[in-house]
Each structure stands twice: as C-alpha cells, then as structure tokens.
C-alpha cells in the first residue's frame, strides 16, 4: 500500500493564503517570551544598547514570529467544544498552517521530525508580521512499520514592508 497517492501528490506545491498575525510585535509579549526561556539580552528592550547596532531599536527574538499566529479577538473559544471531554489534550489549531489537509486514512499518525530555520532579520517592536506556507515536498519511504510520508512544510514570515524575516521548513512524518 502506498500513501503517496495521486491526490496527495497533487498537493505538492500547494500554498496557503497570506495570513496576518492578529497582533503586532508587542513589547509585553516579547518580555514574557524572553523571560520564559530565560534570555536577558538587552537587544530585546534597550534603546541605548540597540541604537548603535544595525537594527537600531529593540527587537523580538529571531524565532518569535513563528509564535505570533494566535486566536484573534471575536473568534470562538476552541476549548468550549471539549467541555465534556476529559480526554481533551489541550491541542487547538492545526499543524497544517493554513494548508489543505493531506487526504490520508484516519489511522495515519503524525510526528515532528525536525525543523530547519533561516533567519534574515529580527522583527521590530510594533511591526506587523505575515506568514505564507506551502507543501514544499512530500516523499515516501519504507520503514520497518510500513510506508511513511516525509512531509516538508515551508513557511515564510515577512515583516511590515514585506521583507523576509524567517524561512522555516518543518518535516513531519506521517505513518
């Protein structure tokens, strides 16, 4: 049995629409973020430190844009549909990042196999960020447990003037 059906192959290269993060890069969100991973670098808050540096003003950590795509105001609470489900694991949202889901049997699981990141510049405080994803590649391999797909989703994060901040490739194993 092959998982790489014609329907799956047809999605290679498929793109999401351009999604805008619901909030700009918030100074308070940056503070909570860097404190949570224990990074006291003053480039995240000090005008005095950043003024002579190429970015000139306080910035967000390089991977911060990856975590800006959150539930906007006025949208339904994703927890409410699980109110009576004690097995609810807390996961909300999708790993497909705006892409159409792969037409695979429901028994096929998902594992995060790895991430590759290219960083081009920091996002500035107050900057708007957008993201666009695509199915970069989908290939099939045989494992001891049968066929599996290696699905590479590429996402480009851009800043307010459209310049590239980050390019991220996530490899997912589907088997």
């Amino acid at each position: 049995m092959s998982l790489l059906t014609a329907e799956v192959q047809a999605l290679i290269g498929a793109e999401s629409s351009v999604e805008a993060a619901c909030d700009e890069v918030e100074r308070g969100a940056v503070r909570r973020y860097v404190q949570a991973y224990m990074d006291n670098d003053p480039i995240f808050y000090s005008d005095e430190v950043t003024n002579p540096l190429p970015w000139r003003e306080p910035v967000a950590p390089p991977l911060f844009p990856m975590n800006m795509f959150r539930r906007p105001f006025g949208t339904p609470d994703p927890f409410s549909e699980h109110d009576r489900n004690p097995d609810f694991d807390g996961i909300v949202g999708s790993t497909a990042q705006g892409l159409p889901p792969l037409p695979l049997p429901k028994t096929i699981g998902l594992l995060n196999a790895g991430t590759e990141v290219e960083v081009f510049r920091y996002a500035k405080h107050g900057e708007r960020v957008t993201a666009k994803s695509s199915y970069h590649s989908i290939t099939e391999k045989q494992s001891s447990k049968g066929p599996m797909l290696l699905v590479v989703i590429e996402t480009e994060y851009r800043g307010g003037e459209g310049g590239l901040l980050l390019r991220v490739q996530k490899t997912l194993i589907r088997r």
Partner: protein, 161 residues
C-alpha cells in the same frame, strides 16, 4: 563582544549553556507565553496517566529557543546566526538539567563574511542526546565590513532571497 572569523578554528568547542532543573513552573510559564495549551507540558496527571509519558515534557519550542540563544550569545551582535536545523529525537522531562553543546566543524571564506559550520545538541544529566542539529553562522573578518543586515545569504543552493 565581537567575534571575528579569524578567531575561530575547526574543532573549537563552545562554552556550554546549562539550564535547569526544569520544574513545572518553568514549563507552565513557557506554555503560557506561547499560548500552547497541550496538557503534556503542565498537567502531570494527564501526561503520566492518560498519555503514558514518564512525566511532563519540556517543550520542543523551548529547546529550540534555547538553541538560538546559545548560538546568538556565541556569535555576538556582529555575527549572524543564519541557519539552524535540529531534530527532536528524544523527550526531556520535568526535573532534568539540559546542557546545550556545539562544536565547530568547518569554515568557509566568502567575499563579504566568513561562514562557520557547527554541530550541536542538547544532552541531559545522563548525557542522553535529545536534539541533534547543525548551524551556520556568519562572522565578520577582523579587518572587514560588518555582516550585512538584513542578512544577505551567499549565492547558491538554498539562497532564494
């Protein structure tokens, strides 16, 4: 701190970054900052009894942030951490101390800057590797121009900006 390409040698080992022991408060704080509500990172009963895990898990996203911090601290504000890749090969759980390590595996001289190749990872107190990876960092030459910002990658495969 400025680090120059000429100061780096293949085989150099970076001063490790050590974090932990990670407690549930650390993981709840990170989950909250991320708005990641997956219960395996803060609900011990759910993680152990429902998902049959050995404990609440240290988030992969927290480990990837620490990798970036580790590399940026080494590169300094005059260098640029261009590429980082890693795999989540093993779980890390509450109570562990994590040690981030890296070693220089190669150097390449380019017209505008030099590129330094590294291998890296995260080991716990039992020296078990959980997050092997690689990175490429651009460093300025001692008597050269600053690394361009925004970063301009070298021409060639993988450089599509």
């Amino acid at each position: 701190m400025s680090r120059y390409f000429e100061q780096v040698n293949v085989g150099d080992v970076l001063e490790p970054l050590v974090r932990g022991p990670f407690r549930s408060a650390h993981l709840m704080r990170w989950s909250s900052a991320m708005e990641n509500w997956h219960k395996i990172h803060y609900d011990r009963k759910f993680a152990v009894e429902h998902d049959k895990l050995p404990g609440i898990l240290i988030n992969g996203t927290l480990k990837q942030q620490m990798i970036m911090q580790f590399l940026r601290d080494w590169a300094g504000n005059t260098g640029w951490v261009w590429k980082v890749g890693f795999q989540f090969r093993a779980m890390n759980v509450e109570g562990e101390v994590l040690r981030l390590w890296a070693r220089v595996t190669g150097k390449r001289e380019l017209p505008l800057y030099g590129l330094v190749d590294l291998e890296l990872g995260i080991v716990n107190g039992e020296q078990k590797e959980s997050t092997p990876g690689t990175a490429i960092i651009a460093l300025p030459y001692a008597k050269g121009a600053p690394v361009p910002y925004p970063f301009v990658p070298p021409q060639g495969p993988g450089s599509r900006t």
